[in-house]
């Protein structure tokens, strides 16, 4: 055998290459097969399948009912009632605690009356919830099946928790007068705490299902569930929604009981009843405003997190089709602030000492209205081609810059600051400070407000118009901090300044013009409308997905409707809800009345 050719470098190279290739193939071959076998085992072993790929014919059609519209309205009605019945126990608990602390029975009576209103609403919440489940099962069976497989444990415990919620609520309400005094009152208060814990848990569980549809977790790209229920619950948007809904529920609940108080005020018999419901309305408005102040920040945080999760959803939300709905939102929230402030200004008339502060109201009103105008100024206008040519572009030359977020953040921070100022003036109206440092105290507060406002403007204008987007968004945080610092510092200074203050006179509860009660109605209606609108937006940014990027919505109704259509649906739903709320108020009215039919009963 002649092996001289093996001394040739080219031959040697080819030999080495072949050997390495052979070795590589040998190493990969069995390993590759092993990995494939293991993967097949994993696939075989998971009990969960991918998200179903549906066709239009997979969606049941029942009696020509529009499935999307039905689920939309029923879900929204359920959510309005749910927000109310979850919120009421929160502030009832606090009011009951205040009553226990101050031993002022008025607080206890008011807390009882609030929970009495929510009992009827609780039944309606359950009815709407049951109807919603029926509608989901009937109209979207595959989607509901998919979600039920993933969330089977949380849905099961959700159903069980209603036993706890109902039991605690009924004992809490029906046992109110039984569990009075000493240790029993502490037991009752604890029941209130348990009621809140159960209610909040219910909300957190339900929030997980809808946020999963927006930011799915615990599933792979095909929608196969990995088996970790906590991962699916604890998805990206879960906590932002939890925070926003918790605060919003309190504000909303306050506005609904405020409307109840206004209704009772207007139908009151006698001055004493009028005074009682006037006081109730004031407390309800206070609850609504207190929760309303931090709410825009919770909403902004939610929007920022939606954007962080999916730029597409974020842009659709505020830069795309839904941007104009946020102009409607601005109109509604501005209305909320104006009506809440108007109610406070009317309320100042309860005190004879309020005359001193009336002169400041017009300046607060000017700031509120100016901020309101800036807030609802749009950026990109809806124009015909001729209008576009005449304007020279889609934005107004002078007002266009007011349409971007920095202007709106500045406006909302000012509205919050001046609402807090209205409240402080209201509190001062019936007091004469007796401390020696009143002037210095006032000067401090004025200086704080001045520097705070200047800082808010600096952050809004400089970072809003002379920097890039990253700075624009980042500057909203110190703006919020400024507002919070000014409010907290001013309230603290006020509390020290008015220690042992002289009362101008007893507050004349009931001395309120009737138009002030319509401000409370406006609060409730605006809140309802606003919630409906925001709920539609949150749901609609998913567009053609049941579960974003995982399960496609191929139903016949899978399209984004026109803004006008959506606004009409929300309005009709709001009217339906208000009709049901009036029914609840009427029930509370009839439950307190007695008819004595002469000669009807046997002697």
């Amino acid at each position: 055998m002649n092996l001289r050719h093996l001394r040739n470098p080219r031959t040697q190279f080819k030999a080495w290459a072949l050997m390495i290739l052979a070795l590589g193939l040998w190493a990969m071959g069995p390993g590759d097969a092993l990995a494939a076998e293991q993967a097949a085992d994993v696939v075989k072993s998971t009990p969960y399948g991918p998200a179903p790929d549906l066709k239009a014919s997979d969606y049941p059609s029942i009696a020509s009912v529009n499935s999307r519209l039905t689920v939309w309205i029923v879900a929204q009605l359920h959510l309005w009632f749910a927000a109310f019945v979850l919120a009421v126990p929160i502030f009832v608990f606090i009011i009951e605690a205040i009553g226990m602390r101050t031993r002022d029975k008025r607080y206890d009576d008011m807390a009882y009356e609030f929970i009495r209103v929510s009992i009827t609403a609780y039944s309606l919440t359950a009815i709407m919830g049951g109807l919603l489940v029926f509608c989901l099962v009937l109209f979207y069976p595959d989607l509901f099946n998919y979600l039920a497989v993933i969330f089977k444990e949380s849905m099961f415990y959700y159903a069980l928790l209603f036993f706890a919620e109902s039991a605690v609520l009924y004992i809490y309400y029906y046992g109110w007068h039984w569990l009075q005094g000493g240790f029993r009152k502490w037991v009752h208060l604890t029941l209130g705490l348990v009621l809140n814990a159960v209610g909040t848990t219910l909300m957190l569980l339900a929030n997980a299902w809808l946020t999963f549809m927006m930011s799915p977790a615990g599933v792979d790209a095909a929608g196969v569930f990995r088996g970790d229920a906590w991962a699916a619950i604890h998805n990206f948007l879960w906590n932002p929604i939890n925070i926003h809904r918790f605060i919003a529920n309190i504000a909303y609940g306050g506005s609904i009981v405020g409307a109840f108080a206004a209704f009772k005020f207007l139908t009151a018999n006698g001055e004493k009843e009028k005074a009682h419901y006037d006081w109730m309305g004031y407390n309800a408005n206070f609850i609504a405003i207190s929760a309303l102040l931090p709410l825009p920040f919770a909403g902004y945080y939610l929007a920022a997190e939606i954007y962080a999760y999916s730029q597409q959803m974020g842009i659709t939300l505020m830069g795309g089709i839904f941007a104009w709905l946020f102009i409607i939102q601005a109109v509604l929230i501005g209305t909320l602030f104006l009506s809440a402030n108007y109610y406070l200004w009317c309320g100042m008339g309860r005190s004879d000492g309020a005359q001193r502060y009336y002169k400041y109201i017009k300046y607060i009103a000017i700031v509120l209205i100016g901020s309101f105008l800036v807030w609802f100024t749009p950026h990109t206008l809806v124009l015909t081609n001729e209008e576009l040519k005449a304007l020279g572009g889609p934005h107004h030359e002078y007002l266009g810059p007011l349409g971007i977020m920095p202007a709106k953040n500045t406006a909302v921070n000012l509205m919050i600051l001046f609402t807090a100022l209205s409240f402080m003036l209201y509190r001062r109206a019936n007091k004469i400070a007796t401390v020696s440092w009143v002037k210095a105290g006032n000067a401090t507060q004025v200086a704080l407000f001045t520097t705070g406002i200047l800082n808010i403007f600096f952050l809004g204008i400089y970072h809003g118009y002379f920097t890039n987007t990253v700075y624009k968004v980042a500057a909203s945080i110190p703006q919020v901090m400024t507002t919070l610092i000014v409010i907290v510092a001013s309230v603290v200074i006020d509390s020290f300044m008015y220690r042992r203050a002289q009362e101008v006179g007893p507050l004349r509860w009931g001395r309120m013009p009737e138009r002030s009660q319509y401000a409370l109605f406006l609060l409730a209606v605006s809140f309802t409308w606003l919630m409906g609108l925001m709920g539609y937006i949150r749901s609609g940014i998913r567009q053609h997905w049941h579960v974003l990027d995982v399960m496609r919505d191929n139903s016949p109704d899978a399209f984004t409707p026109t803004l006008g259509y959506a606004a009409n649906v929300v309005s009709v739903a709001a009217i339906l809800f208000m009709a049901m709320v009036i029914f609840v108020f009427w029930l509370s009215q009839v439950s307190g009345s007695k008819t004595l039919p002469a000669g009807y009963w046997k002697e």
Binding site: N442, A443, A447, T451, I485
Partner: protein, 43 residues
Amino acid sequence: MKWFERNSYLVPFFAVFLVSSLVFLLMDMAVMDMQGLSLIFQL
């Protein structure tokens, strides 16, 4: 007397104005820094 009365308002006003301006400025710088940015725009 009027001077004193005016000063009992203006002196605390300007003092708090200066102090709170500084506080807000420091707060702005700190919060922007926490987000990885400076107060004054830098590309």
